[in-house]
Structure formats: structure tokens, C-alpha cells
């Protein structure tokens, strides 16, 4: 079942501390044809609360896709990734790492933690928008995902 084919909007969790980046992702997603709900977590702790529906996130929805930055306050992206991928309930959610880092050890480490893909944010705006759109359409329109 491809989520984008349904009338229900796609639920995306963006874990990103930089307001500028949040805005850029929003801009990019707005250009796409998919109906989406973008949920925000500004650090790793918030992200885990959201995923576990804790506290103020008691009514949070289960995301179809997680866009995860690596360098985050409190709990960084690697820790979030590790926790998601060992959680029986959460581990099937695709996690796309979006980071500025091209460091080999970051790439290697996140794949070892079962990241679904690793993307370096392009510095050029048009490139960036293209990448975000591609990510969205690949994971939401091309890939067959497990049932929710």
C-alpha cells in the first residue's frame, strides 16, 4: 500500500533544531503534490516523546517517515536512531538522515544503526528542494511500506 495513493495525508516527523532548516523543509514540501502533515520535534528527547506518545504528545500520530538531523540538543540523532531501530513497534518506520556532515564515520555509523538512507543537505536551495521532494516521493510514492 503506497500511502500517497490514499486520501489520508502523509504523516512526517521532522527532527531538526535549526529553525532555518525547518522552514526550508516546509518550503520544499509545499511544492510537492502530496498531502502531508509535518510534525516537529526540536531535539532528540522531544522526538522520542512524540514517538512514544508521552506527555504533551499523548495524541501524536505514528509517522510514516522520520526526517532526522544528526546533531541535536539533549539527545542527538544517532541516539534517536538507535532507540527507534531497536524498538519492536517503531523500527519499521523509515528513517532518513538529513545532515550537513559528509564525515565517513557518520555515514558508516548511521547505516550500522540501520538508518534507511543518508542524505547530505545540499547548500544550494534548488538542490535542497529537489532532494527533499525526491525523498518524499521515493518513500511515500515508490516504496512499498509495511502496513501501519
Amino acid at each position: 500500500m503506497k500511502v500517497g495513493e490514499e486520501s489520508r495525508p502523509i504523516e512526517i516527523l521532522l527532527v531538526e533544531d535549526n529553525a532555518g532548516d525547518v522552514r526550508l523543509v516546509k518550503e520544499a514540501l509545499e511544492e510537492n503534490k502530496f498531502l502531508n502533515n509535518l510534525h516537529m520535534a526540536r531535539d532528540g528527547v522531544e522526538a522520542m516523546k512524540f514517538l512514544h506518545k508521552e506527555g504533551e504528545y499523548a495524541n501524536a500520530v505514528r509517522p510514516d517517515l522520520i526526517l532526522l538531523d544528526l546533531n541535536l540538543p539533549k539527545k542527538d540523532g544517532r541516539e534517536v536512531l538507535a532507540e527507534v531501530k531497536v524498538d519492536e513497534d517503531l523500527k519499521r518506520i523509515p528513517v532518513v538522515i538529513m545532515t550537513i556532515s559528509k564525515a565517513e564515520e557518520d555515514i558508516l555509523k548511521t547505516y550500522n544503526l540501520h538508518a534507511n538512507c543518508y542524505i547530505t543537505k545540499p547548500i544550494d536551495l534548488d538542490q535542497f528542494i529537489k532532494v527533499v521532494k525526491s525523498v518524499e516521493s521515493f518513500w511515500l510514492a515508490i516504496v512499498e511500506l509495511p502496513p501501519r
Partner: protein, 532 residues
């Protein structure tokens, strides 16, 4: 007196005859015994383990046993009546003559050592012991009078023994003693109670006790309290027959200074195999240990500084680029969103801002690559430069095809280095050679020469060349000789080449004239560069 009757006479004669016969028997027996004894003596004489000689006063050989003849490598018969001086090495002739004179003068045993020359020319060392016999005359066992010994002339017998082996051994012992005496290591011998039996100069210098002082003390005085148990165990184990070779420990000098020493110990046994003591060779390694410690610290410092550099590089790659991205992205977003509301100037400004951000990002990435030549360096291994060059050419395939570059190469050696870095080195140099080309298609030749300790590489092109005044400057980070519009790039390529060559222990330089092409040279030591 009454005449004896014939019968009586016959009887008497018979009795005499019998007596004579009996005497004759006795004589025969005695002669036989004498002969047996003479043979015994002759055997003893001939086969004695030393040479027996009798010399005339003039030094001729009057008599010699078989051993003596064998020593000189000649038949006995050939030796008789020959001058013994013939067999004495020229440098010892005078000594021999003196010995010859003195052997007749004194009743004391006379000795001298001579180098003797055998009949076949080989020399050996001999000890001569001569003694004048008390007998006024002498007869040889076969009854002849001894030649040259007549009347009241005294008889002198000389034994000659081959002492070559002993002399060699003595020489060896002397050499070894010299080595031990002058060794910088402390060489000592102690009994099992620790009393010092031998103490060389090295021990005097190392521990500060003179030989005399050492003989008055025990080895325990050198033992720091912390090493007493170790020493007790050592003595116990050695006495029990264990072999202990070398180990590191500590010793105290007379001034109370603590030395780190490397000890080699040997158990000494007497002829019967009973353990009698311990020989110990002690090397002062205090300085070496200190140097090792300094080296260890330096390496630790370097590791730490490398890690810090790595951390810095990571910060540069990640944290510095984040704000840069914001500048670039939002300037672009501004341009996109408000395109119609902005004038030409505004668009130009936005263009510069985006270009600046892009260039800065490139430079940050270049700096990162530069720092990683050291921090990400892998251990060296033997790598074939032909394969390396081919890899570099593969990476450059697009630009080679676009420009129609002709690249030729001589046979290239195998060097000690890091493959990926050497690929980058060749790639950067060839990329430059193509980039700074003239109108005509680039021609590039790569060669290598054996220069003894180094391999000497060259990359020669037919490009625009470089004014020699910039020969140094081109290797400095972010230094460029051309405007960006003419030739793109941040100016990192040659800087990274230099860093790679230097990491491999070599040198890189350029020889060029404007308009005449350039040749870049670099060396790579055959041993590989310094690696920590």
C-alpha cells in the same frame, strides 16, 4: 799338596762346568731382563707425550724421540746432527741461543717459549724445558757413547711441548678479559651469599664503588628495598638449576641514585659442575627509559593533537557549514520569492552572496581534505605506481576525453606508501597539467628514476608554464596565480600534493618557464617516510 787323581780332576772340572753353566744361565736371564727393561724405556722415551731432545753445545740435535720428530714434522734420522736453530722462527733465534747457553750453566730447570717452524713451514708455539742431569757421563741404551757428550761434559735433556692451543686460549682469555675490563656495562661476579668476587671498570663507573671497595661489600648494597625479594628469588632459582637470561630491574648507586638496569645473569659452575656463583652483566638503561618515556609522551601528545585536529575538522565540516547553508539558502529563497519585486542590482547582489557562500563551502571542504592527509593517514604498504597512475587516469577520464589529452608513461616502480593518497597525488598533478593547458591538446609524460635511496618522479606537460618567481607560492594553501574566471579552483590541489609527498618522506618542486610547459618533480624514499 797331594797330586789330584785324574778322577778327582774330572769331577772338579764337572763341578766348575756346572757352576759356569749356572752362571751363564744367570747372565742370560739378567741380559733378558735388561733387554725388556731397555725396550720399556725406549717405548717410554719414544712415545712420551712431549718431545725429548738432547742438544750438542753447538745446538745440534744429538738425540730426539719420535714425538719430538713428529713435532718438527720430520723423520728422526733426518733430524740427527741438524742444528735446532733451523726450526726456530727467525724472531726467536736469539732467545733460543740464550736458552742453549743457560741450559748448560745452571742446574736449575730452564724454560723458554719459542715459535717453531716445522719442516713443512707451518709454525707452532712450543715450550722448552731443559734440565742438566747430574750424571757425569751417559751411555745410550744401545751401549754407544752419546754424541757430543764425552768425558766430563754434562748431559742436558730438553722437553719440547706444543703449547699453540694453550697460547691461543691464553690469548682468548686475555682478549675477553680486556673486553670485560673495558666494557661500559657493569660485569660482576658474586658468590651465592652475594660477596663480590669480580668487579670491572664499568661497574666502578656505573655504581660508584671502586674494585677494592666492592670486594669489601656484598651485592645487596646495590639492591633497592623493592628489589630484595626479586634478588632472593633469582639466587634461589639459579641455585636450583634454572636458567635465567635477561630481565629489567633497578639498582642503587653509591650516591643513592636509582638506576634502571637490564641484567643478564649466568650461573657459574666449577670443574665438577657445582654452582659457585653468579656472573651478571648490568646495562644502565635509565637514559633509554627516559627517552622512551619522552617518546611515548610525544606520541601521546601527537595523538591527542591529531584527535583535536580531527575534532576541529569535524566542526569545520559540520558546524561551520550549517550557518553558511542558511546564508546561501535564504538568499536564494529571497531571490526566488521576490524576483519580480527586486531590481537588477538586487539580483546581482544575491548572486555574489550565493557565490561567496558556495566558495566558502568549497574552501571548508578543501581544508578538511588537507587536514585529513595527516589525520586519516593509513599505514604504508608496497603499492605499484602503474596501478596507481591508472586509477588516477580513470578518475580523470571525463576531462581527458574532453580535452583530448595525450598521457604517456615510463615503467613505474613499486613504492612504500598509502594507495589512496598516491592516487590523489598523481590525479592532482595530471589534473593541473590538463587545466593549465594551451590551445593545443595537452601532452603529459610521467616517468620515474631510481636515485639510490629515493624514487624520483616527474610529471611533464606542454601547458602554459609558470613564472619561476611563483615556484614556491603555488604550493601554499589557497594561493592562486589566475583569476577564478580563467581557471576555477580554490588553490588547494598542489598544497595537498605537497602534504602527501611530505607525509611519504619526500619533496616536491616545479621546474618551468612561462609558455614552455612545466615539470613537477617529487621524490619518495624507498624506505617509506617517517610514520608514528
Amino acid at each position: 799338596m797331594k797330586e789330584k787323581t785324574p778322577k778327582e780332576l774330572v769331577h772338579e772340572l764337572r763341578v766348575h762346568q756346572i757352576e759356569l753353566q749356572m752362571q751363564n744361565e744367570e747372565l742370560k736371564k739378567a741380559q733378558l731382563a735388561l733387554e725388556v727393561s731397555r725396550n720399556k724405556y725406549l717405548d717410554l722415551y719414544d712415545f712420551a707425550p712431549v718431545g725429548f731432545f738432547t742438544f750438542t753445545r753447538g745446538g745440534r740435535i744429538a738425540e730426539v724421540n719420535l714425538t719430538g720428530a713428529a713435532l718438527l714434522g720430520a723423520e728422526r734420522q733426518e733430524l740427527l746432527n741438524r742444528g735446532f736453530g733451523h726450526f726456530v722462527a727467525p724472531e726467536n733465534l736469539e732467545q733460543w741461543e740464550r736458552h742453549l747457553v743457560s741450559m748448560y750453566k745452571s742446574e736449575e730447570k730452564q724454560s723458554c717459549d719459542l715459535a717453531l717452524k716445522r719442516e713443512d713451514g707451518a709454525t707452532f708455539h712450543a715450550r722448552l724445558d731443559s734440565i742438566r742431569l747430574a750424571l757425569p757421563t751417559a751411555r745410550l741404551p744401545d751401549g754407544q757413547e752419546q754424541a757430543g757428550v764425552s768425558g766430563g761434559t754434562p748431559v742436558v735433556r730438553t722437553t719440547v711441548s706444543d703449547i699453540t692451543d694453550r697460547k691461543r686460549m691464553d690469548e682468548n682469555i686475555r682478549l675477553l678479559a680486556t673486553v670485560v675490563r673495558n666494557s661500559n656495562d657493569a660485569v660482576t661476579v658474586q658468590d651465592f651469599e652475594g660477596r663480590i668476587i669480580s668487579w670491572n671498570r664499568g661497574a666502578e663507573l656505573m655504581y660508584g664503588y671502586s674494585e677494592d671497595e666492592a670486594f669489601q661489600m656484598t651485592i645487596w648494597r646495590l639492591m633497592p628495598a623493592s628489589k630484595r625479594t626479586e634478588q632472593e628469588q633469582l639466587v634461589r632459582r639459579l641455585r636450583a638449576g634454572e636458567t635465567i637470561h635477561s630481565f629489567e630491574t633497578q639498582r642503587l648507586t653509591r650516591e643513592g641514585r636509582l638506576l634502571d638496569v637490564w641484567l643478564t645473569v649466568t650461573k657459574l659452575v666449577d670443574d665438577a659442575g657445582t654452582p659457585v656463583g653468579i656472573a651478571s652483566t648490568d646495562r644502565d638503561i635509565t637514559e633509554r627509559k627516559r627517552a622512551e618515556e619522552v617518546l611515548r609522551k610525544t606520541i601521546a601528545d601527537m595523538d591527542r593533537s591529531n584527535k583535536e585536529l580531527e575534532q576541529f575538522a569535524y566542526v569545520a565540516s559540520h558546524d561551520l557549514q550549517e550557518p553558511l547553508r542558511m546564508v546561501a539558502s535564504f538568499t536564494q529563497l529571497l531571490a526566488k520569492r521576490y524576483k519580480d519585486k527586486l531590481d537588477a542590482d538586487a539580483n546581482e547582489f544575491i548572486g555574489y552572496a550565493v557565490d561567496g557562500a558556495n566558495r566558502m563551502q568549497k574552501m571548508i571542504n578543501d581544508l578538511l581534505s588537507y587536514s585529513r592527509v595527516e589525520t586519516r593517514g593509513k599505514p604504508f604498504e608496497a603499492v605499484g605506481c602503474t596501478a596507481i597512475l591508472n586509477q588516477a587516469l580513470t578518475n580523470l577520464r571525463m576531462v581527458i576525453e574532453e580535452t583530448g589529452a595525450m598521457i604517456t608513461q615510463d615503467p613505474l616502480p613499486t613504492v612504500m606508501g598509502e594507495e589512496s593518497q598516491l592516487v590523489q597525488l598523481f590525479q592532482n598533478l595530471i589534473d593541473n597539467a590538463i587545466k593549465f593547458r594551451r590551445e593545443e591538446p595537452p601532452r603529459i609524460h610521467i616517468s620515474a628514476e631510481d636515485r639510490g635511496n629515493d624514487w624520483f618522479f616527474s610529471v611533464k606537460d606542454n601547458g602554459i608554464g609558470i613564472d619561476p618567481q611563483y615556484n614556491e607560492r603555488i604550493f601554499i594553501i589557497f594561493q592562486r596565480l589566475h583569476r577564478r574566471e580563467e581557471y576555477p579552483g580554490t588553490g588547494i590541489g598542489l598544497t595537498i600534493c605537497k602534504k602527501i609527498v611530505e607525509r611519504h618522506g619526500g619533496r616536491v618542486w616545479v621546474d618551468s618557464q612561462p609558455g614552455n610547459g612545466s615539470t613537477f618533480y617529487f621524490t619518495i624514499p624507498k624506505t617509506g617516510g617517517l610514520r608514528l
